[in-house]
Amino acid sequence: MALLEVENLHIFYGHVHALKGITFHVNEGEMLTLLGANGAGKSTILRAVSGLLRPRQGRIVFDGKDITGLPAHQIVRLGVSHAPEGRKIFPTLTVEENLNLGAYSRWRDRTGVEESRRLVFRLFPRLAERRHQLAGTLSGGEQQMLAISRALMARPRLLLLDEPSLGLAPLLVRAIFKTIKEINAQGVTTLLVEQNARLALKLAHRGSVLETGNIVLSGTARSLLADERVRKAYLGER
């Protein structure tokens, strides 16, 4: 069953038509990756789903409920969590304080939050070691781990990840992607936006390719990896 359905989504930034009628869905438990060049509209889709942008037209349905135009804080409460591009962690707060923010809307559920904290520290032991350190003093990779962890603290059913590999060393990217896979395997449906197409397609079940606001190609990750056009445009083959 589809956990997230996006139908004919149109987004404008002023006069710029950023998304021109996007339709896709993410099944429960699945990982879908959105591929595409800079400015194709990948991050815009995530922002629309998490309520940070209001669509001009179209419908977003999460778990059978129409969430189009709902404010972001309500969408978080429904179980959609967004780890935004560029991490957006709070550098002057400690690791722990950053995590507490992720659990902001679960303030009545103390034991549940404690459980999530344990889970996050198990996934990223380095954060546990640095829990009292200021987030601004973490390395880039650790900051990315923190951004993902903070999103997990909301105990999402749908996790939106925007460019988790941005600016990280290849070895670290692999480690983080392994953890993302583990998170997904635990039942958290994941929508992954990524420039590193090869890695993303190895991880995801299905993928969609965006070009200037349109989805031009969709399919299973395996079929996309084999697709001639994808290989040429995104995997750097001749």
């Binding site: 998490s50 309520g51 940070l52 404010p71 972001a72 804080h73 978080v76 409460r77 969590s81 967004h82 935004p84 560029g86 991490r87 957006k88 962690i89 709070f90 550098p91 002057t92 707060l93 507490n100 923010l101 992720g102 902001y104 809307s105 303030w107 200021l134 987030a135 601004g136 003093t137 973490l138 390395s139 880039g140 990779g141 650790e142 900051q143 903070r150 999103a151 909301a154 600016g167 990280l168 060393a169 670290l172």
Partner: protein, 330 residues
């Protein structure tokens, strides 16, 4: 110097401050008691503005408007219906809060300097409205005269000494209240919003509502200060609620330390009591004051007693650690 200050346990500070507060009026004359009274009123205003500017990070240069609404509410109702002053404290808070709700709602999506300009506009609108004497309520440029004195358990508060204890009791209450607020879930939400509103929204904070709440609570406390000011002065006029007043309150917050309660008290001292001490050099007073402000901004931009978070942020920068998170890759 910081190191020596830190060596003193915080409890010792509180005890010393409390003792000084109680003993002070008996050591000095009415003039200096009144200086302390105005210190207290401005401390309240500073603390109330600190909620808006310091906690939520919303630039408000029209805070005198809320102060005026509180003062005029008390003045008008007391003079026409003779309702006791202290009963009007909650009402002044409420009208100021309601007023803040009305004006803040449509402008909260504005950011930084734009919000600042609009609040200046609102501040001026309120002052000019008061001058124009709408419905014959505000007495125009002359203001409202003959405002009653507060009475507490049969004691009519009239002398500076009596006001001293009333005002500082309120200051203390507001300090304790804002302290609780700062540490509450709401206070944390403001903190996140100030640092990064987008990330805060993405993590489930209702940004618009929290900003509005900061305005409403800040305005309510300014309304309380207005109530006390009105009964202290017995006469209020639009001259007491000029743009300059808003600037003074804003400077108190920035000078003392954004988001820090002890900072606000120190800032009020700096903005209000020090100029009083130098009254002797009246002609050069403002010059010295201006120079001191410039020196502050150069040498101690975080304020005299910054909040913990600001201190951390500043330390980060001086050590050269990445502040924004994107500058460094692993």
């Amino acid at each position: 110097m910081d190191r020596y200050l830190k060596a003193i346990p915080p409890r010792a500070w509180y005890v010393a401050a409390g003792l000084l507060l109680v003993v002070y009026p008996f050591l000095t004359n009415d003039y200096w008691i009144d200086v302390a009274n105005f210190f207290g009123i401005y401390a309240m205003l500073g603390l109330s503005l600190n909620i808006i500017v310091g906690y939520a990070g919303l630039f408000n240069l029209g805070h005198a408007a809320f102060y005026a609404v509180g003062a005029y509410t008390t003045a008008i109702i007391n003079t026409t219906f003779h309702v006791p002053i202290l009963w009007l404290v909650p009402l002044s808070a409420l009208t100021a809060a309601g007023f803040a709700y009305l004006i803040a709602r449509p402008i909260l999506h504005l950011r930084g300097d734009y919000l600042c300009i609009v609040t200046i506009g609102f501040g001026e609108i309120v002052r000019i409205t008061l001058v124009n004497n709408p419905l014959g309520l505000t007495g125009g440029p002359n203001g409202v005269l003959g405002i009653g004195r507060p009475s507490l358990f049969g004691l009519i508060i009239k002398q500076p000494l009596h006001f001293y204890f009333l005002i500082w009791a309120f200051v203390l209450l507001i300090v304790l209240g804002t302290k609780r607020l700062e540490e509450s879930r709401i206070g944390r939400a403001w903190n996140y919003i100030r640092e990064d509103a987008l990330a805060a929204a993405a993590m489930g904070i209702d940004v618009a509502r929290m900003k509005l709440l900061a305005f409403v609570i800040g305005a309510a406390l300014a309304g309380v200060a207005g109530n006390i000011y009105a009964s202290k002065m017995a006469v209020i006029s639009p001259d007491s609620f000029t743009f300059w007043e808003s600037v003074v309150m804003f400077s108190i917050v920035v000078l003392g330390g954004v988001g820090s309660i002890p900072g606000i008290l120190v800032g009020t001292f700096g903005m209000f009591v020090l100029p009083e001490l130098f009254r002797g050099f009246s002609s050069a007073r403002m010059l010295v004051f201006g120079a001191a402000m410039i020196a502050m901004m150069i040498f101690r931009p975080q304020g005299l007693l910054p909040s913990q978070r600001w201190r951390r942020a500043m330390v980060d920068e001086t050590v050269g650690l990445p502040a924004a998170g994107l500058s460094k890759t692993s």
